[in-house]
């Protein structure tokens, strides 16, 4: 078993052996359901999960940093990073192991929303492709937010600071693409810049995937985002080891 799996296994297990997983799952599942019905699921009179997925960006922007904040802040605060980094594990393996463990945890959280899917199937005849792409977009977006959270977690020993900074960064990335923001920005920015800002927003790409269209640029957006922020996280950690 190589070191990546050792870190991955340990991290995933630790979510479930502490109250973290249970509190997070209950809150996430409650709000994802509540917001869906508040959005007007019944009023729309359509058996699809649009009302469910439309709230994902904002919900994730708050909850994913909560899952990510402990990844590195806690290690540095408790000193266990000194154990981790003196085992024969590279920084890359450790960062990837923790990131993927958290991502799998979020995937489990999403999987536990299956009652919504059952509800929609019971009530009508939904388009399975749309539901599948909705979940795919959600998982990718969760990964993106997680990567941002990972970075801020490595930046600070204090979990509150990591959380707040991650939420702000994620919120900026979500809000950048919202129509109201776009309208406001276009009043004083050139059109080219506005559309550039639109392309770096989560919302735009998530909407696109959710609509059932799997375009390379949307998938690659998330992949690049994840790779970029996770690499930045690894660089920060290496830097701390080199210069305290």
């Amino acid at each position: 078993m190589n070191s990546f799996w050792a870190v991955f296994k340990r991290e995933l297990k630790s979510y479930f052996t502490t109250p973290i997983a249970y509190v997070f799952l209950v809150v996430f599942l409650f709000f994802s359901g509540y917001l869906m019905f508040k959005q007007g699921f019944f009023e729309i009179r359509q058996a699809d999960m649009r009302a469910f997925f439309i709230n994902m960006p904002l919900l994730f922007a708050f909850l994913v940093p909560a899952a990510a904040m402990r990844l590195w802040s806690e290690e540095r605060k408790s000193g266990s990073i000194e154990l981790l980094m003196t085992l024969p594990i590279t920084v890359t393996q450790a960062v990837l192991g923790k990131f993927f463990a958290a991502w799998v945890f979020l995937a489990i959280a999403l999987a536990l929303t299956f009652p919504m899917v059952i509800t929609v199937y019971y009530l009508g005849d939904p388009d399975v492709g749309l539901i599948a792409t909705g979940y795919l977009g959600s998982i990718l977006m969760a990964g993106g937010f997680l990567a941002v959270g990972c970075f801020f977690s490595a930046l600070s020993k204090n979990q509150v600071i990591s959380f707040v900074l991650s939420v702000v960064a994620c919120a900026v990335l979500v809000f950048a693409g919202l129509p109201t923001t776009m309208n406001y920005l276009s009043t004083f920015l050139p059109a080219g810049l506005v559309s550039a800002i639109e392309t770096i927003s989560f919302e735009t790409h998530f909407e696109s995937i959710q609509r059932g269209v799997l375009e390379f640029r949307d998938i690659s957006y998330f992949v690049l985002l994840i790779v970029g922020w996770v690499a930045a996280c690894a660089i920060i950690l290496e830097e701390r080891m080199a210069h305290g």
């Binding site: 000193g79 000194e82 003196t86 024969p88 590279t90």
Partner: protein
């Protein structure tokens, strides 16, 4: 086995280690002594490849700490002063994680655990969460983690800190028993420990090695107990 040349490390404006050099071979039990803030832990962290030196180099079992940190970590068992561990894990879960990370699996893992758990006397707490353990038991778990892969080099930062007199004696016995086949560096404030266990003594203060000798030679040279030798050296030479 260990060769250190002119290691230097600063933390901002504070120079923690200022040109430390020494060698250690198999069979040595090196007692690393010094006042608080002398740089002992920093040197150990650099050897364990947790910190990178600003300049200088070191090799452990032929591997360079800058070029081959992974290989170095494979041959070292390191116990840090604050005994870092994952508090929410059980002792057994934690040791299994360390075996995963060190790629000890199957029969080899079973053998390692069967050997180590009685050696460090942690059978009674094997299924307990680490954050519920007393200081002494936690340190023993840390020691088990450092020994589990039977490393050639041991770097122990205050291994008997917080242990009761019986446990202190047991750990010292353990170190003496392992000394023949390993190279062990022990940092400590307990001078009787140096006399009991160490074959060599290095006294470091303000990041510089002041003395590199053996406990017997030091006692003869200064004609007093090791306690007074320590006081004399660290008070006068560094004033």
């Amino acid at each position: 086995m260990i060769s250190i040349k002119e290691l230097r490390r600063s933390f901002g404006p504070v120079v923690a280690v200022d040109g430390v050099s020494f060698d250690a071979k198999k069979g040595d039990v090196l007692g690393f002594l010094g006042p608080n803030g002398a740089g002992k832990s920093t040197v150990m962290r650099m050897l364990a490849c947790f910190l990178k030196p600003d300049s200088g180099t070191a090799t452990v079992c032929g591997c360079d700490i800058l070029k081959n940190p992974l290989e170095v970590r494979k041959s070292i068992g390191y116990l840090a002063e604050n005994v870092p561990a994952y508090d929410e894990m059980t002792v057994g879960g934690f040791l299994n994680f360390v075996c995963d990370a060190r790629r000890i699996s199957g029969k080899a893992r079973k053998r390692a655990l069967d050997r180590l758990v009685p050696m460090c006397a942690i059978e009674s707490v094997y299924h307990q969460a680490i954050d519920t353990l007393s200081k002494g038991y936690r340190r023993r778990v840390g020691l088990a983690q450092a020994l589990i892969h039977d490393p050639q080099v041991l770097i122990l930062d205050e291994p008997t800190d917080g242990l009761d007199p019986n446990q202190k004696h047991e750990v010292r016995q353990l170190i003496s028993k392992m000394a023949k086949d390993k190279c062990i560096i022990v940092s400590t404030h307990i001078l009787e420990e140096v006399e009991a266990v160490c074959s060599r003594t290095i006294i470091i203060a303000k990041g510089i090695i002041i003395v590199d000798s053996t406990p017997d030679k030091l006692r003869q040279q200064y004609n007093c107990s090791l306690d007074e030798v320590f006081r004399k050296i660290t008070r006068t030479k560094v004033a």
